[in-house]
């Protein structure tokens, strides 16, 4: 199996970010909220990326922040996929009023921009990580629902699904054994995209002050904390922005490759 160069680059960057997030405790040279120097010190041997607006080591903040950002985004993506795809499949398989109820409910949720609804909910709820994950997961689940329902509706009319119904199979078998394996490739590709949207979403929320709360670090928060520095030519706010952009691009490259590899419905092993 040959991995195309673009996918390889994507894999390396994505892998590096995830590893850094998992082993943040070992990699970060200083504590997350430890004040170790002056305000906005330039890059030096002790502080590779300099220090931030109150004298914390920026590299350490970036690594700890990456952990929070990636954890929240991953958890929200998993939640949205589990919820969205199962509900989507049920809507497709059951049809009738179940489908109507779920689909119209989702339409209703989608008619409000997700950032607005997130801001409204988060402004009245205590902003903790579980609440953030829940809100983001639920809002994203609507998108996953639409996709998985559309994919499953196509599969549900296939003769092999009818054959399974005629055999007397339960709905769980039909959803998990007949439909899911055949719906997986578009869903996996979508998963990469949704993960990126989650990273952007959590960063936006933190930047607006309704996401991850200080002193806990996250990329959007680091931008917010250091944004005044830009006026004085301090690049501290741009570093997390670069991290967000490179993570987004590399995950996209991987998702593209996965989609390309799995689109043929020939036992899923097409080249």
């Amino acid at each position: 199996m040959r991995i195309p160069i673009a996918a390889l680059i994507g894999l390396i960057f994505t892998g590096a970010y995830f590893l850094a997030a998992i082993f943040a405790g070992l990699l970060a040279p200083y504590g997350m909220a430890e004040i170790v120097g002056d305000v906005w010190e330039p890059a030096s041997a002790e502080h590779w990326l300099g220090t931030d607006s109150i004298g914390r080591d920026l590299l350490s903040r970036m690594i700890w922040g990456g952990q929070t950002t990636i954890f929240v985004a991953t958890a929200a993506t998993i939640l949205s996929f589990t919820l969205g795809s199962i509900l989507g499949f049920i809507a497709a398989v059951r049809g009738g009023w179940v489908d109507q109820l779920l689909s119209r409910g989702v339409d209703l949720m989608m008619s409000i921009p997700s950032l607005i609804s997130a801001l409204v909910v988060l402004s009245v709820m205590p902003v903790t990580l579980p609440v953030l994950i829940l809100v983001m997961g639920l809002l994203d689940a609507t998108r996953v629902f639409r996709l998985s329902r559309a994919v499953a509706v196509d599969i549900a009319v296939m003769d092999y699904v009818e054959a399974a119904r005629l055999r007397g199979e339960k709905q769980t078998w039909i959803i998990f054994r007949e439909i899911l394996p055949n719906a997986l490739s578009p869903l996996v590709a979508e998963m990469g995209l949704r993960f990126i949207f989650s990273v952007l979403f959590i960063s936006t929320l933190s930047f607006l002050g309704l996401g991850v709360q200080p002193p806990l670090a996250d990329w959007g928060g680091i931008v917010k904390e250091n944004k005044e520095g830009i006026v004085y030519g301090i690049p501290a706010a741009l570093i997390p922005a670069v991290a967000i952009a490179t993570l987004a691009i590399s995950v996209n490259l991987v998702a593209d490759w996965v989609l390309n590899r799995t689109t043929s419905l020939k036992g899923g092993r097409g080249g």
Partner: protein, 544 residues
């Protein structure tokens, strides 16, 4: 030969294949085929799928579909070799000297444009004639092809005419620019027999009147025998036999051609009366949200271990009957008795035994099997589900079933994509058989297969019926298949059973009008059959 319109010599066609899980490789589709076509003659290209007949047909305009490359040989059209002609030269030639009629007219027309626009498009694009002249010619061709209201039919959209009419409009489109050669690629394959005969007659007449030469591609020897002057039999990209139509039909030389000519000659003597396993009594059904009865008061009986063939054209309700029996579409009225017990109309209320004893095989074997499951899983699931077999016992039973369908070892771990069309259908048969059913509903199971492969499937089904005493409800539009397999026949027309009885009774006169039309429309492998049928129908229509 100066008179030759098209001469192909030593044509070799190659393509790159991408087999799953393997590196791409070069394959040869056509191995050095040569042919000649004189002006005004019709050459039939016949063979099963993968024989290269369409590929050769399209090479007459130096076109390779889907990355196919014409790598060697010559294609001489009107005296010049066009195999390596420049794109500009080919553009000038396609649609002007050579035109093409595709199999699926419904997919070949742009649904957003009126028919007339599309019919005269090529003539206008090549600047062959003015708009008024082109339209006049199109109307003339519509009339010649027997389309109703030739003056106004061009104003309709593709969805406003029937499939057979659309196919004739496409023929008019091909003939409109006054080409020298028309390539017909299975023009009647997707049509019902009763429609096919009309289209076939129209095409034949149009070819004769316009003096155009034609390549007629089909897999049905009986069809090509009606229109072609010469026939070339192809197999796996090689020529098997070439001769005049009379010679190929009457004295075929090669074993493969003989097999094609004698296909569907299974002798099946109907079985004696027996107690019925399935009786359908006065069943009426309609789809949800509609007020139209798709089935009207249908009553049929199927004796245990025998075959009831349900025949009719598309839209006659034969597949709906299958859906009603399986419970996918609960009947509005009527009663279905199966294996001595009354069957609940809806699938959800049926017992596991009801489901097990009533199995189904589909037309398209590719989509009847989950592409992500291996053959072992596909056949094994009913064993596990109905009989609780697992592990080695299940695997052994799957292997037994594979042996029964004559597939043997080495297939159990394959995916459907790694099987041929005939093998796929065999696996579907094995899956049905795994449930030890009393009745298998076969919905057009051989329609998508090549004649020789279909023959193999029919023989297998008959052998299995003898072994397992299973009954078949055999839905088909193909009367040759019916003759080969049926004990009883029900002829359906517009949701009603118009004729029902034992095979001999149904197929012997006196006929009702519809059965007569249906039976006389089945192409027979003899010269001049088409003319005879058309002539006799005209006499009837004239009031004799």
């Amino acid at each position: 030969m100066a008179d030759n319109l098209l001469t192909i010599t030593g044509l070799k066609i190659e393509a790159t294949a991408y087999p799953p899980g393997e590196p791409p490789k070069e394959i040869t589709l056509v191995h050095g085929v040569s042919l000649e076509l004189e002006k005004g003659k019709v050459l039939g290209l016949i063979g099963e799928s993968g024989a290269g007949k369409s590929t050769i047909g399209l090479s007459s305009m130096a076109y390779g579909r889907g990355g196919v490359r014409l790598t060697a040989g010559t294609v001489t059209l009107n005296g010049r070799d066009i195999r390596l002609a420049a794109p500009g030269a080919l553009r000038a030639l396609r649609g002007r000297e050579v035109t093409y009629v595709a199999q699926s007219a419904a997919a070949a027309f742009n649904p957003a444009k009126r028919l007339m626009e599309q019919v005269i498009e090529t003539s206008l694009a090549h600047g062959l004639m003015g708009k008024a002249e082109a339209e006049a010619r199109a109307v003339m061709l519509f009339g010649k092809l027997g389309l109703p209201n030739p003056e106004t039919i061009g104003r309709r959209y593709p969805h406003q005419v029937s499939g057979g009419q659309l196919q004739r409009v496409m023929t008019a489109m091909a003939l409109c620019p006054k080409p020298d050669l028309v390539v017909f690629d299975e023009p009647t394959t997707a049509l019902d027999v009763t429609t096919q005969i009309e289209v076939l007659a129209a095409i034949k007449e149009a070819i004769r009147d316009t003096g155009v030469a034609a390549l007629y591609i089909t897999h049905d020897l009986a069809v090509v025998a009606q229109v072609a002057d010469h026939i070339m039999v192809l197999r796996q990209g090689r020529m098997v036999e070439y001769g005049t139509t009379a010679q190929i039909i009457e004295t075929p030389q090669e074993a493969y051609t003989q097999a094609l000519v004698s296909v569907r000659s299974i002798d099946h003597v109907e079985k004696p009366e027996a107690p019925s396993v399935l009786s359908v009594a006065h069943v009426t059904a309609r789809y949800r949200g509609t007020t139209f009865d798709v089935l009207k008061n249908v009553t049929v009986d199927l004796p245990a271990g025998q075959t009831l063939a349900v025949v009719g054209e598309s839209g006659s309700g034969k597949s709906t009957l299958a859906r009603v029996i399986t419970g996918l579409l609960p009947a509005a009225q009527g009663k279905i008795t199966f294996a001595g017990r009354s069957l609940s109309p809806a699938l959800a209320q049926r017992t596991k035994d009801d489901l097990r004893e009533l199995q189904m095989i589909y037309q398209m074997a590719d989509v009847a099997m989950n592409p992500r499951q291996t053959v072992g899983t596909i056949i094994g699931r009913p064993l596990e589900f109905y009989f609780g077999l697992t592990g080695a016992a299940k695997r052994q039973r799957v292997q037994e079933l594979l042996d029964q369908i004559e597939m043997g070892k080495g297939y159990i771990d394959r995916y459907p994509a790694e099987l041929s069309g005939g093998q796929k259908q065999r696996v579907c048969i094995a899956r049905a058989l795994a449930a030890k059913p009393k009745l298998i509903i076969c919905d057009e199971v051989t329609s998508a297969l090549d004649p020789l492969v279909a023959d193999g499937i029919l023989k297998l089904l008959l052998a299995l019926q003898a072994q397992e005493n299973v009954a078949y409800l055999f839905i088909t539009h193909d009367l040759a298949t019916v003759r080969a397999i049926a004990d009883r026949i029900a002829v359906m027309y517009r949701g009603e059973v118009v004729r029902y009885g034992t095979k001999t009774d149904v197929l012997s006169p006196p006929f009702d009008d519809y059965t007569d039309l249906l039976l006389s429309s089945v192409p027979e492998m003899e010269l001049g059959w088409l003319e005879q049928v058309i002539a006799s129908r005209r006499m009837v229509a004239a009031g004799n």
